[in-house]
Symmetry: C2
C-alpha cells in the first residue's frame, strides 16, 4: 500500500547509490541509451525495483510515452458524461494508463480551446474529446499531433475515430412514441449553438433536425415548436415556460436530454399541470435519476458506459499504432416510463 | 483563435531557424541559463512570440513550474463536486493556471492511491484533494513533496491547508429542525468507511456523530436508527428500504446528502408513502435538483462554489510560497422546503 511507502520520494540519486553506479548511468538505462552495458542495466533495474522508484512522467515522456490519456469534458454536471467516464475507467483498469480530465467550459469556445491546449501540453499519449465545440479543421490539426477520439459528433474524418449515439434513430423513436400516443402539438427544447454559424455535427442539431423531419412526415409541420435554451435544469425550466406561453400550448415536450427534462418537470409542477395527464415529457440519455420511481421519465437509452469503453479501446489501439479511422455508433432504445401518456382528449 | 493556428506544432527547431541561432541557444534562453547574451535573449523571445511557440509542459517543468493544478475527485457523479469545481475554475480564470482532474475511484482506496500517484507524476504545481480517503500520514507525505489543499476533511495538520464544511453545525440544524416539527423516530443514512478502521475525519462520520449527539441531547437515544449504505441514489434507496422495515418505522429521514435523499424519495414513492405526510426527508449539500419545484428537498447549504474558490486561492498562495497551514470552514445554513413537515399525529 502507498500508505506504508517511504516518507520521501525515491530519486534517481537513491537508485544510483543503491546500484553503486553514477546517476548518468541510471539515466542512460532509463532512456535505453547507447553505452549502458547489460550488467549495468540489470543492476540498475534491480535497484529500481527494490526501491520502488517511479520515473517522473516528464522523464518518461522523454522516452516517448506518458501512459496518460486526456479526456476533455464540456463540464462535469451532466450525469451522462459520468456514465461515459465509468466506461473509460473500466476499459483502462488493468492497463498502465491513467485518464486525466480537463473541463472545457460549457458553451465557451475559447475556454475549450485553452483546455485542449492544456491537454496537449501535458504530453498525453492520446485525447478523447466528449462533444467538443471546436471546428473539425482544428480537430484534424490535433489528430495530426496525437491519437484522437471524438465522442458525440457525427462528422466523418480520416484523421480521428468517432464514437457517437445514433441521435437520428433515438429522436425518431421518441417523437413517434409521442405521436402514437395521440399527441400533435409536440414541443422541443434545443440548445444555442456557439461559434459563428459553423456547421457542427453536435447531437442537439441532429435531434432538432430529426424532430422537424418526423413531425413533417406525420403532417405536423405546422405544430413544430422549438424553444432554444440549454440542456440544463435551468434551460429545461425556461424552455418549458416558453412553450407553455404558446396558445394553444403543446400537450407533449421532447426536452432534448434528461437534465432539460428535469427542469421541464419542475416548470410543469409549478404551473399546476399534471404529468402525463396535462403534458407528457420525454428526455434523452436515460440517466439514473430518470429511472427513479418518483421521476419515472421516458427517455432514450444510448449506453454511455459502452460508448466510453469503446472510445478508450479505440484510443489505446491508436496509441499502439493503428492509423485507419474508425466510426462506432450505438443504436439507441426507447425506455417508456410514466412521464408520457395519451394526449388529453380536448386537444385541438 | 486556435482554429486558425498553424497545421503543425511549432518546435524549438523552428524558433532557432527563425531567430537564426542554435537550438541549444533557444534552450538556454528558455531555461534562463547562464551564457545567453541579452541580445540573443531578445532575438529568441521575439521569434517565440512571432511563431506562437509554446514550450511543452515537460520542458516548462524542467524550469520549475507547470502552471497546472491537479484536482482529485472521488467521482464526478456528485453534483456538489460540480459546484466546487465551478468555484475552482472561477478562481483560476484570468491566471495562467489550468486545473486537471483525476477521478479517485469512489470508495476504492487502491484506485485513489493510483490517482494520487498519477497527479504527482504529472508534475502539477499543487494538488487539491476533494474528500480523499487516504490516511492523514499519506496526505502529509504528499504535502512534503508539493503544495496540498484538502477539501472536506476536518483533521488539523501543519503540512497542508484544510477547507471544509462545518458538518457538525449543518447536521445539528437539520436534526433540530426535524425534532422541532415533532419527529421522534428520525432515521439516518450513512456510508461505509473504507480502509481498515483508521479514523478518518470525513463528513459522513461527523454527520453520523452529530446526529447521535443531538438525538441523545433530546432524550431520543433509543430512537437512533442508522442504515449504512452509500451516498448515491441507489444507496439512499436501499437505506430507506432498510429503515422502512423497522417497526415502528421512522417518521423522518436525514439522508446524509442530497443524492441519497433522491433515492429515499424514490423508495418512499414506491412504498406508497407520501412526503412529508407520512415521512419527512432531508438532505445535505443543497444541490440544484433539491431546489426544483417538483422535488423541493429540505437541505443544508454549504456553498460549494465558495469552498472551491477558497481552495484554489489557498493553493495558489502555497504555490507562491506560503508555508503556514490554514484552515477555512464554511458555516452552513438550513434551507427548509416541502419535503419536511410536521410529524404524523399517530406516532408512538
Amino acid at each position: 500500500m502507498a500508505e506504508r511507502g517511504p516518507r520521501r520520494r525515491v530519486t534517481i540519486a537513491d537508485v544510483a547509490r543503491h546500484a553503486q553506479v553514477s546517476t548518468t548511468a541510471v539515466s542512460k538505462v532509463l532512456r535505453n541509451a547507447y553505452g549502458a552495458s547489460p550488467a549495468m542495466r540489470d543492476r540498475v533495474k534491480a535497484a529500481i525495483e527494490e526501491l520502488g522508484y517511479r520515473p517522473h512522467a516528464a522523464a518518461r515522456a522523454m522516452r516517448g510515452r506518458t501512459f496518460t490519456i486526456g479526456v476533455l469534458l464540456p463540464h462535469i454536471r451532466n450525469p451522462f458524461f459520468a456514465d461515459v467516464l465509468d466506461g473509460v475507467n473500466e476499459q483502462l483498469a488493468g492497463t498502465s494508463y491513467q485518464a486525466i480530465l480537463v473541463q472545457g467550459g460549457g458553451t465557451d469556445l475559447a475556454a475549450e480551446s485553452r483546455a485542449i491546449e492544456a491537454l496537449i501540453d501535458r504530453q498525453v499519449d492520446g485525447i478523447l474529446m466528449i462533444a467538443p465545440l471546436t471546428a473539425k479543421s482544428r480537430l484534424e490539426e490535433v489528430a495530426a499531433e496525437m491519437p484522437l477520439i471524438v465522442l458525440g459528433r457525427h462528422e466523418r474524418s480520416s484523421a480521428y475515430d468517432a464514437v457517437f449515439d445514433d441521435d437520428d434513430a433515438g429522436t425518431e423513436l421518441v417523437v413517434r412514441h409521442l405521436i402514437e400516443l395521440g399527441h400533435r402539438r409536440i414541443g422541443h427544447i434545443s440548445q444555442r449553438c456557439p461559434g459563428r454559424g459553423r456547421p457542427l455535427a453536435l447531437p442537439h442539431l441532429t435531434r432538432a433536425e430529426t424532430y422537424r423531419r418526423v413531425m413533417d412526415e406525420h403532417g405536423l409541420a405546422a405544430e413544430i415548436a422549438i424553444a432554444v435554451t440549454s440542456w440544463t435544469e435551468e434551460g429545461g425550466y425556461d424552455g418549458t415556460r416558453e412553450l407553455l406561453a404558446r396558445s394553444p400550448r403543446p400537450t407533449a415536450i421532447f426536452a432534448g436530454d434528461d437534465q432539460a427534462a428535469f427542469g421541464a418537470l419542475a416548470a410543469l409542477h409549478e404551473a399546476g399541470l399534471s404529468v402525463p395527464g396535462d403534458m407528457s415529457v420525454a428526455g434523452d440519455d436515460n440517466t439514473k435519476l430518470a429511472a427513479m420511481a418518483n421521476i419515472s421519465l421516458t427517455s432514450v437509452d444510448q449506453d454511455g458506459v459502452l460508448m466510453g469503453r469503446t472510445a478508450a479501446r479505440l484510443l489505446l489501439e491508436r496509441v499502439e499504432g493503428r492509423a485507419a479511422a474508425m466510426r462506432f455508433s450505438v443504436t439507441p432504445t426507447l425506455v417508456p416510463r410514466r412521464s408520457t401518456g395519451p394526449a388529453p382528449a380536448d386537444q385541438g
